[in-house]
């Protein structure tokens, strides 16, 4: 799992070689050494920005702010304190940027995604107006002139080549620092947060601190570039903080390639060459640059580096990594690795005592109590809406209970945040598989084990040098039976494989008690077997609370069972006691025969009635999960057809496929003799298929009458599904 020293630092060698040839190459096409310096300076700025954009997934539209602040700070510091010194102003300006970006980061990082981008845009606009208007300090429109490059020993930095060498050395240093940071545990966590912030939070990482740190580092690197450009041009003006400049920086990152450390540097080179060469014959080079930028976003989001990689793949065929399940080795009945076992805890691990929760008048959970002892699998069952998931959320801290207590190892935990509860060793899985889809299986699991390691904030040591974490990861992978799959991306695995990795991530958090929310939902029979064996195996050392709809399997699996109905605990007992209990039977199968007002049995004659709907060999997928497998059914005139099955069996998906909300991969769906497979939903609905989904799908703020009226003039449904 470790890489050689050579390949680790390959970008550094490429960068160094490029810096050596750059001035000559520039001269060869009629450009100056100073232009070469500009390229390097912009490359530094763009690499700094890319820390945010490419690695942390924080798309900043306002990094010109830090570029400009770095420049102004260096200029002012030199002017007032240091005469013609250059080193100290640069260092001190980095200190200034660190301070300001920490303050800004604390504020802006409260928001994610698009909001973050808009806030950075506003920040750039704010800095621009300050730079432009605060004439006393910034010189306003004229900027700050008369900067001095000074000299280092006998070397006069006013010489363009000397200045280029200085800039190139700093650029190489920055590249080295960024490489170290990105290869460190810190860098890997930053990427993990980009991939799935929620998952990283529930591995125990304080994600906000990581994001702030990477934001500040990114700002400082960009600010350093700003200071260097100021000294190069002997002038700092408001141009450097303008919003268009921020956009150009972002364009360099996108055009170069944002998932690659050197990509933005190539983007900067491309930008300068484009500007210098195009402006010779047209004043409107920015128009063409804009078109190229849009072209890259639309057609090649991985930038120049991505195009290069594609070309290389064409020249040199890369051996395909066989991801076949046949590679999966099974080590059934391996004992839970010692590193994951909690230390000799006996007796009751988790005690839930009379907890209640109301939501706006609905009694979701009322006086629920349960106890989980060491070594046991405790199942929580009950019909839909019984309050099982709510109880789960109360225990794991997603909601605080209105009353009652929750004790973990004797300590009251109700009212703590989910994060605090997690850190006390209560780890839960989520109903929906939750992993880092863009990261390898190995990476997924290692991130989990590394979360409790003291080095998790280390931003300098190479990740490969932590042999203990790697050994633990290898052991966990072997335990899960995922060897041979280490390098496959999480999202590439089958549904069952993803569920295993998800469980592995939860186990890697070294829990005292494990809460599993429907771990078997949506799995095929063989996968159910495999996952339930794993749960059984784990429970020998870590007690498990499990919510599951597959009653037969869960009763076969667990030691104690708690049955919930309508928010209350109905009973707790052994699986046999639960099976024998009449109240439980009533909940699950109903009380005898329901009254049927109007019943028609299908007899010979009615089979001949016209077929309204035909569903033949339909297959549907959610990503990698095969949900409908050759599903076939008919609906005839006058019939009511009921579709029954377990949770995750594909009932809802079948209806959604029928109405066109889920496009079928293959098969025929005929309605009144017409194939409607693949048609858009509105067209299907207009043919007369009505769809009533589960849950309350009302439109808030609209009256019932209005909703019906909106729909009414679109054609009347003739067949209803529910």
């Amino acid at each position: 799992m470790t890489s050689t020293r050579h390949s680790r630092y390959r970008p550094l060698w490429i960068g160094a070689a490029a810096l050596v040839v750059l001035p000559q190459a520039m001269h060869a096409i009629g450009l100056t050494t100073t232009t070469a310096s500009t390229v390097v300076i912009l490359a530094i700025a763009a690499m700094g920005l890319n820390l945010c954009v490419g690695y942390a997934g924080l798309v900043s539209f306002g990094h010109g702010t830090w570029f400009g602040i770095g420049a102004y700070a260096a200029a002012l510091i030199q002017r007032y304190w240091f005469g013609d010194e250059i080193a100290l102003p640069i260092v001190l300006s980095m200190v200034v940027v660190t301070g300001l970006s920490t303050v800004a980061g604390v504020l802006i990082l409260r928001r994610r995604g698009v909001y973050f981008s808009l806030l950075t845009l506003a920040l750039a606009a704010l800095t621009y107006t300050v730079a432009f208007r605060w004439t006393d300090v910034t010189g306003g429109e004229n900027g700050l002139g008369d900067l001095k490059r000074g000299s280092i020993g006998p070397i006069d930095l006013d010489n363009p080549l000397a200045y280029y060498i200085l800039v190139a050395l700093i650029g190489l240093g920055v590249l080295y620092v960024l490489l170290r940071v990105l290869r460190s545990p810190f860098g890997h966590v930053v990427v993990a947060i980009r991939e799935n912030q929620l998952r990283a939070t529930f591995q125990g990482y304080p994600v906000e601190r990581y994001k702030l740190a990477v934001f500040v580092l990114s700002a400082v690197v960009t600010g350093l570039a700003g200071a260097l450009l100021g000294f190069q041009t002997y002038l700092v003006s408001a141009e450097a903080v303008s919003v268009p400049f921020s956009g150009e920086l972002l364009a360099m990152v996108v055009i170069g390639g944002m998932r690659n450390i050197l990509g933005p540097a190539f983007g900067a080179l491309f930008f300068i060459l484009f500007r210098e060469l195009f402006s010779i014959w047209t004043a409107n080079w920015l128009l063409w640059f804009g078109l190229i930028f849009v072209g890259f976003v639309l057609f090649s989001p991985s930038g120049l580096v991505g195009i290069w990689a594609q070309l290389r793949r064409r020249w040199r065929a890369v051996p395909e990594q066989a991801a076949a399940m046949s590679k999966r080795e099974s080590h059934e009945n391996l004992a839970l690795p010692a590193l994951l076992r909690p230390h000799g805890k006996q007796g009751n691990i988790l005690e839930v005592n009379a907890v209640s929760k109301h939501f706006e008048g609905i009694r979701a959970v009322v006086d629920a109590s349960l106890t989980i002892a060491a070594g046991e699998i405790h199942a929580l069952i009950g019909p839909n809406g019984a309050g099982k998931t709510t109880l789960f959320n109360l225990i794991s801290g997603l909601f605080a209970p209105d009353s009652g207590t929750v004790r973990l190892l004797g300590r009251e935990i109700q009212g703590l945040t989910p994060y605090q509860i997690f850190n006390l060793g209560l780890v839960r899985s989520f109903q929906i598989t939750n992993l880092f889809r863009g990261l390898s299986i190995y990476e997924n699991l290692r991130l989990s084990l590394q979360a409790r390691h003291p080095m998790r904030f280390n931003a300098w040591r190479d990740i490969d040098s932590y042999t203990d974490v790697h050994a633990e990861t290898a052991e966990l992978i072997r335990y899960l039976g995922l060897d041979g799959f280490e390098q496959i991306e999480g999202g590439e695995l089958s549904h069952g494989g993803q569920r295993l990795v998800d469980l592995g991530i939860t186990l890697g958090c070294k829990p005292q008690v494990l809460l599993l929310d429907e771990p078997l939902a949506g799995l095929a029979a063989a996968e159910r077997e495999r996952v339930s064996n794993l749960v059984k195996n784990v429970a020998a050392n870590i007690p498990v609370l499990i919510v599951e709809h597959d009653i037969d399997r869960v009763l076969g699996l667990s030691h104690r069972v708690t049955v919930m109905n309508q928010g209350e605990v109905l009973m707790t007992g052994t699986p046999d006691e639960v099976r024998a209990d009449r109240r439980v039977q009533e909940i699950y199968t109903g009380t005898g025969t329901p009254e049927v007002v109007h019943s028609r049995r299908i007899d010979e004659r009615e089979v001949k009635s016209t077929r309204v709907l035909r569903f033949a060999c339909v297959n549907a997928f959610y990503g990698k999960s095969h949900i409908l497998n050759d599903a076939t059914l008919d609906v005839r005139e006058g019939e009511i057809v009921a579709l029954v099955g377990r949770n995750g069996a594909g009932k809802s998906t079948l209806l959604k496929t029928l109405i066109g909300l889920v496009p079928p991969a293959s098969g025929t769906i005929e309605y009144e003799g017409r194939n409607i497979a693949g048609m858009p939903t509105p067209d299907i609905a207009r043919l007369g298929l009505g769809y009533v989904p589960q849950g309350r799908q009302l439109f808030a703020g609209l009256t019932v009458r209005r909703i019906l009226r909106s729909a009414a003039w679109r054609g009347r449904p003739t067949a209803a599904m529910a």
């Binding site: 798309v59 539209f61 504020l107 409260r110 928001r111 994610r112 995604g113 698009v114 909001y115 981008s117 808009l118 806030l119 845009l121 506003a122 920040l123 750039a124 606009a125 704010l126 107006t129 300050v130 208007r133 605060w134 919003v243 268009p244 956009g247 972002l250 364009a251 996108v254 409107n284 920015l286 128009l287 640059f289 804009g290 930028f293 849009v294 976003v297 639309l298 989001p301 109405i659 066109g660 909300l661 858009p680 939903t681 509105p682 609905a685 207009r686 009505g690 989904p693 799908q697 439109f699 808030a700 703020g701 609209l702 209005r706 909703i707 009226r709 909106s710 729909a711 679109r714 054609g715």
Partner: protein, 291 residues
């Protein structure tokens, strides 16, 4: 005296707020329905101003006020059909980047077509001068602008809340799948919303050309203000945008009077203050896709 002075600033601030409102409301509508943030919105505003100058040369100011927004709304159809439509289901960051690039392209096109120099637009003679309202002296043209903004605002509100068009739009924002299952195609509604949004931006460009400076970068300048307004009000909230636009206008108007240089900075500071206490804006709701 102090009170009268303040009142005058408030009215000027309201005019300014109405101007922001025309731009920010369209931005917010396109965002609510399509889930895309249109960084090129300012470009349509600038196009509105330039096209109105061209039309004004031949047909006069009155015709320009009507025709320029219509022309830009027609451009909006192309914009929606060939660019925006690709991004409704995609990562919102992609649409942000693409519309940003488009804004850059349009600004350059304006430079090529109309030159880089700023243009002054003459106010029609009928609206020059000032009138007394009670004891206060107001510019006629500003009062006219305020009236137009109010009319537009009321029409949009009626369209969204009383017409069946608005019903479908509001239902589509909440549960697009259910609207589709009722047999309603959302695509044409989306086109209409984009036309409406960019049309309003163009109207702002046209109406405010006589009291601002028309230049190629005007779109880029106004777009950040529009975002500040939307962010303060809360993404996707109609009344949030209205309140926030007026608030920003008034705060800016008053600040300019006391510390002229800090006029622009004041609204950013207002924004950061609001976000400290209400991270989703004044009336914003949590929208998972944009977190």
């Amino acid at each position: 005296m102090q009170f009268e002075f303040l009142l005058e600033q408030v009215v000027n601030g309201l005019v300014l707020g109405g101007y922001y409102l025309l731009i920010a409301l369209g931005l917010s509508l396109i965002f609510s329905v399509g889930g895309v943030i249109n960084l090129a919105h300012g470009a349509f505003y600038a196009l509105g101003a330039y096209i109105s100058i061209e039309i004004g040369k031949y047909l006069g100011f009155g015709a320009a006020v009507v025709l320029s927004p219509v022309a830009v709304a027609l451009l909006g159809i192309l914009f929606e059909r060939f660019l925006l439509r690709r991004f409704y289901a995609a990562d919102p960051i992609l649409s942000l980047l693409v519309t940003f690039g488009l804004a850059m392209i349009v600004e350059q096109l304006i430079r090529i077509l109309w030159g880089a120099a700023p243009r002054a637009v003459n106010m029609p003679a009928a609206f020059k001068g000032s009138v007394f309202v009670g004891d206060f002296l107001f510019s006629r043209y500003r009062l006219l602008l305020l009236a137009v903004v109010v009319v537009v605002l009321v029409s949009i509100w009626l369209l969204l809340h009383k017409a069946s068009f608005g019903r479908v739009i509001r239902a589509g924002i909440q549960k697009p799948d259910m609207v589709a299952a009722l047999g309603i195609r959302l695509q044409p509604y989306m086109t209409a919303i984009v036309m409406l949004g960019v049309g309003m931006a163009a109207l702002a460009g046209t109406l405010f050309a006589p009291i601002t400076i028309v230049h190629p970068a005007m779109g880029a300048e106004v777009i950040t203000v529009a975002f500040v307004v939307v962010v303060i009000g809360g993404l996707g909230s109609f009344w949030g945008v209205v309140i926030s636009a007026l608030l920003v206008g008034v705060v800016r108007g008053i600040t300019i009077n006391f510390i002229p240089a800090a006029g622009e900075a004041s609204m950013y500071i207002l924004m950061f203050l609001v976000l400290l206490f209400r991270p989703r804006g004044l009336l914003g709701e949590r929208i998972e896709k944009f977190e």
